[in-house]
Subunit: 331 residues, 2 copies
């Protein structure tokens, strides 16, 4: 691997989360599929917001959360995404730069607003997301920074990008740039419904050139349309060079061809809000991977990061993950 | 007391808090007086924001926090303040209404932005606030809703209003309306520096017609320009009908003429962020007071509310205070 400027460059939607609490009946009444991410329009978002309790605004976005997690471990991270010239855009840009992630998108004035996601957290800590894409609908291949991609050990892409053809093309161009530069391409499947929408394309992509696939149990079972996790795990082992499969309280599995490594979970006193659990899991794993730490150690870092994030509201770490990992003897 | 629509109507600046962490050196480097509230302009706010770590946005505002606290205990609360027609205005309005506080200010378009306070929290949990008043500079007596004031048991006013002549006039008009309707007037001194700026006027006001004065140790000593808390307590007992003095970890004192009641603190596992401690103390006391619970019981509710708020980031309760108080046998 040639020298690099970054360990990970992440590409995704730049989102500010509006996180509030509700009960299961509220989700049912509003037709929200618990645990999912749905794209909504302004009217739907307003209706959901009006009826919900008081909220907290915290920067989010799946791939952005992962970039922040990598930086929190001490890794060199960059993020590529679009923000508008508005309050939410300023919040997003401040928070990611203050988290030591390189981000230099020029805010776009006068059009779509910065993306936001209304996140409803139920008493069990599960989050249900309703995202207004806004300016992120304009994320296309002109937003890419080829130098950042060519100079990063890993390009990390969120599956949510497949929901729009322009973003999908950006995704494909970023993968091609990375591969040409001898870099690794990592993909998170993002959401079970997202996999449902793009199953064939995800499979083609994984078989043709993704180095690391991140998925949770639901997503990987959806990808192979099977009810059996073991069946899905066996099939991804044939399709992807490296697959990292998370199973919530059951821990996770790193599948490297014929070899698989089981990773346990880190204890958490109380699951407050699962928003960002998968994103921070990916952050821990990618940090370890780019430092050459091996699957077991990388998985332990992943589990530590995920445990930190679900113990409080919001998808950005509240303590430096490097300190936390050192305290736990994992670094 | 005639029938009422509200237990408490609070009047103050409608603020969204931008809460981040910093160390003491950051405060020193930027010339921030630890524990204080300073009014800042846009350039100063930008400089402080740029240098600080990632932040969380949560609705705040001193009197607004108190109104939310009263409602969280099950009291009937209303809030009067100004918001602009912008993202922060929508956040503020949503959160206070979702907290069951009556709020019907029409957002003002095209001028000053909604007020925001950059709150720097040091590792000891102490908060240092830098407030850009924005649209709140337009809070004057035309913003008052006379019916709400006349139909509330208590009108609660934040001392911060004295920082501008128009708001001071609104304050005085609200007091006059309340007194004429046979209602009680409550005042919080807000901040030691604020008392410094308006000492003579605060004293005149307290002697002429405030029924309940809320102050912390620093503020009450500043009011009487004395180093002795006991001296300050003796003097406020002569000037105010009822004074509620908070002393952080030393608990608080309710002074009712010749009689005083000492209130202990509620245990807190870890002080995370003191933002809103005084506001929520006032909420608990005012809820008890308006329900006729007596000083000891009202003080206990105050201590419970303050303990809840300092155990997490932000000045709005994360659990219903009525439930918390019932669990602790205080309601």
């Amino acid at each position: 691997m040639s020298t690099s400027d970054y360990d990970v460059v992440a590409i995704g939607n730049a989102i500010v989360d509006i996180i509030g609490r509700c009960d299961d009946a509220y989700l049912a009444r509003h037709g929200c599929a618990k645990g999912s991410m749905s794209l909504v329009d302004a009217a739907r978002m307003a209706a959901l917001y009006d009826g919900m309790g008081p909220a907290t605004e915290i920067s989010g976005g799946s791939a952005a959360n992962t970039a922040v997690g990598v930086a929190s471990f001490g890794g060199r991270a960059a993020f590529i995404g679009k923000v508008a010239d508005d309050e939410f855009g300023r919040i997003f840009a401040h928070d990611i730069k203050a988290s030591k992630v390189a981000f230099d998108a020029k805010p776009v004035a006068g059009g779509n607003p910065t993306s936001r996601s209304l996140i409803l957290v139920t008493p069990d800590g599960e989050r249900t997301m309703n995202t207004l894409l806004g300016i992120s609908t304009e994320l296309d291949d002109t937003a890419l920074d080829p130098t950042k991609i060519e100079r990063s050990k890993v390009v990390y892409l969120e599956g949510y990008l497949f929901d729009r053809p322009e973003a999908k093309r950006a995704f494909e161009k970023a993968s091609a740039l990375a591969r040409k530069a001898g870099r690794q391409v990592a993909l998170t499947l993002s959401d079970g419904f997202c996999v449902d929408r793009h199953r064939a394309e995800f499979l083609t992509l994984i078989r043709s050139g993704v180095d690391i696939v991140f998925a949770n149990e639901n997503e990987i079972k959806s990808l192979y349309e099977t009810e059996s996790f073991d069946d899905a795990a066996r099939r991804i082992s044939q399709d992807a060079r490296l697959a990292v499969l998370t199973r919530s309280a059951k821990g996770s599995l790193v599948i490297d061809g014929e070899n698989s490594t089981t990773i346990g979970i880190e204890p958490v006193a109380k699951v407050v809000d699962t928003t960002g659990a998968g994103d921070l899991y990916a952050a821990g794993f990618l940090y370890g991977f780019t430092q050459g730490l091996g699957h077991a150690k990388s998985g332990r870092l992943a589990a530590i990061a995920a445990a930190e994030i679900i113990s409080h509201t919001g998808a950005r770490p509240e303590v430096p993950l490097a300190d936390l990992a050192r305290k736990k003897g994992a670094l």
